[in-house]
């Protein structure tokens, strides 16, 4: 049936052509562009805050770790919303893929504690929540009463952010910018790796 494909192509051409039907369709879909950053922001903020509170209050430590994972994803989305694309991906790879897995391994390897056996004494949740709430009120008051010199700009007033990956690479390898701290962090990470491996090594008898 050699004529089917051209016929289909004609149909699609008619549907997608900027004709009256297209204009009608477009008028039915509301233009969300001005409120899109707000929608995304409140979605991510809700995710981050709810899961951070869950991480703070979950009775089981594994549930707290899962709350932390959701909070990491919320913060990663906020980085992306703020134009730091590289940092958003690094957040997912390093925090979710690395640190969180490490924490879950920690929970796994220390499972036979009193807490797991239901012998844990009640935690100081109320005083801690009170201290955290008081701190939060202080911080909110400080934030809302401060002038940060940003001229009251909103997301819509900011210019389109450029991709940061190439610029970050150049900044890290430029001797006049961040080459020295970059190399120091490399040595620091190596030292931490060796130190961690040394600390958890299996001891032979008599040592």
């Amino acid at each position: 049936m050699p004529t089917v494909l051209p016929a289909l192509a004609d149909v699609f051409a008619d549907v997608f052509a900027a004709g009256p039907s297209h204009a009608l369709l477009a008028s039915m879909i509301p233009d969300l562009t001005p409120i899109l950053p707000g929608l995304i922001f409140y979605g991510l903020a809700g995710l981050a805050i709810v899961s951070a509170v869950a991480a703070a209050t979950a009775p089981k430590i594994v549930h707290a770790a899962f709350g932390l994972m959701a909070a990491f994803f919320g913060v990663a989305g906020m980085y992306a919303l703020l134009g730091s694309d590289f940092l958003a991906l690094t957040q997912v790879v390093v925090y979710v893929g690395g640190i969180l897995v490490l924490l879950v391994f920690g929970v796994l390897l220390t499972g036979r504690t009193k807490a797991a056996l239901g012998l844990e004494r009640p935690t100081h949740v109320m005083p801690a929540a009170f201290a955290g709430g008081a701190l939060l009120f202080g911080l909110l008051g400080a934030i809302l009463s401060s002038d940060f010199g940003d001229g009251g700009r909103t997301m819509a007033d900011l210019p389109e952010p450029p991709s940061t990956t190439a610029a970050l690479g150049r900044a890290f390898l430029d001797p006049n910018q961040y080459l020295l701290p970059f190399e120091l962090v490399s040595v620091f990470l190596l030292a931490a790796l060796i130190g961690a491996a040394f600390l958890v090594r299996r001891r032979r008898d008599g040592q």
């Binding site: 703070a56 940003d150 900011l158």
Partner: protein
Amino acid sequence: MTSPVLHLPLAFLQTIGLAHFLVVGAVLFCAGITTVLARRNAVGILIGLELILNAANLNLVAFERFGPAPLRGTVFAIFVLAVAAAEAAIALAIVLNVFDSRDEIDVDETTALKG
């Protein structure tokens, strides 16, 4: 003011500014502080520490976006990330050692170094 399209009071969705991100950072920070204070499990305290570092990073990136200098906040946040990774590795190694010697990672019980 209403949105021209949806005829709903959606102006609050169009005025996302620096303070919005700082408030989220503050909430994450206080959740982290609460976690660190409330938990006895050492791994739980580490979870609170990670929340605190994330809140700080969020503030750094938000200030960069709304400020005049590009890239500085992101660079600093990446260094914080590296330090957080090293901290988690070392802290968990210490926690595992404590667990090995005491069968316990309750920070109220590990008082051998208490003066």
